[in-house]
Point group: C2
DNA sequence: TCGGTACCAGACTAGTTGGTCTGGTTCCTA
DNA sequence: TAGGAACCAGACCAACTAGTCTGGTACCGA
């Protein structure tokens, strides 16, 4: 029997993330996480002080991956073209192309589950979510401002809000997929978002 | 002591709706609903067979109000102008103008809470949510098709997906408001949505 | 006036939940 | 090779949860 603490911890986090996204945080029991990650109560509470501590670790890991995903997409968009407006479109295309495999990997976003349970939002977990949202806003707002200044000088658009709209589209699309179980909505929504941005930056 | 069953039932529903939107379904206990609606266990289980039955009643009422809200906005948009494209913009403006009071009445959407808890989504509650989403899609898709055929003949836009994008913007904006507690995001997102549609239907 | 029905109150219960505790195993270091 | 630290197993517990049951009150038709 090997003793590898970090492996067990990761297994717990993976299982918990899946269950929380699937059923929500309150509906996910510690016993369930233990059973499905093939470990024990002693092990669980060795790695996490409480269920709330698990939630915080979960969000921290998820938000870090989310920001990494963002940075990667921005890098790819910048590598594709030097034109600011085309970079914006390329950015959306990165996610549009990956939409199907994204949805097969996770049927929804952890943020949704965490934010709907106020007990968590008040308990320090929301801070990291806000940081991730801010990262998206800051990065995209800059890109959008450059693109709009070039294509639509003198526009009256709030680039922060437009940047948020990308994030909003993701979260809303996750919900839409969830309602019918049809994951195809994610790609369709990203396509629509791109077409809207194309008409704005034409 | 007056005996008015329907009044008590409504009070329970009002309280439960507030609590579920605020804390989520699983995190909302029957005892809590009873306490805050100033009634008793006997009364609660007289009006509702189970907690799940409450959830179903809650969604039914909410979805009906949602569709009524939609129909009202469409009627107002049609009264404002005969031009299809201008109707679309007027429709969004109805919600844009009412955004602040909408957010003060409810800090989030019941759909989000219900959809994140899979136990409910599988238990017949999602059917009514899907019906409401379909109503939005059908109504708006028709409006959008007329507008696009006029302003952008030969376009390649999926009007169903574009119609869904309006719904998606609402749900995503609710989430965004929730993350920071800043309800101003709702109006900002609706403004951005309108500006994007204006550029598309210019 | 009487009996049935809708409505309501609150004690009670069986099952579940997060969390604790004791004991044991592996590994690292001195 | 001894002993401490990290890791893990699972019995156990106190608190809580949805739902039941018994008893009682207002109303309505006969």
């Amino acid at each position: 029997m090997p003793r590898d603490g970090t492996a067990t911890r990761q297994r717990i986090l993976d299982t918990a993330e899946r269950l929380v996204i699937e059923n929500g945080y309150a509906a996910t029991t510690v016993d369930q996480v233990i059973a499905e990650s093939r470990t024990s109560k002693g092990s669980f509470f060795h790695h996490f002080d409480s269920k709330l501590d698990l939630a915080r670790s979960l969000v921290a890991r998820y938000a870090a991956a989310d920001i990494a995903h963002l940075d990667d997409a921005v890098a790819r968009a910048r590598a594709a073209t030097d034109d600011p407006a085309e970079q914006v479109i390329a950015f959306v295309r990165v996610f549009e192309d990956d939409a199907d495999e994204l949805m097969s990997a996770q049927s929804s976003c952890l943020y949704v589950s965490i934010l709907t349970e106020r007990q968590l939002a008040d308990a320090g977990t929301s801070k990291q979510i806000v940081e991730a949202i801010t990262a998206w806003r800051t990065t995209l707002s800059t890109m959008l401002r450059a693109a709009l200044d070039q294509r639509r000088p003198g526009h009256d658009i709030d680039t922060d809000a437009l940047a948020d709209h990308v994030f909003v589209t993701f979260e809303g699309a996750f919900l839409l997929c969830r309602s019918t179980g049809d994951n195809g909505h994610m790609r369709a929504q990203l396509t629509v978002l791109r077409q809207l941005l194309e008409s704005l930056l034409a």
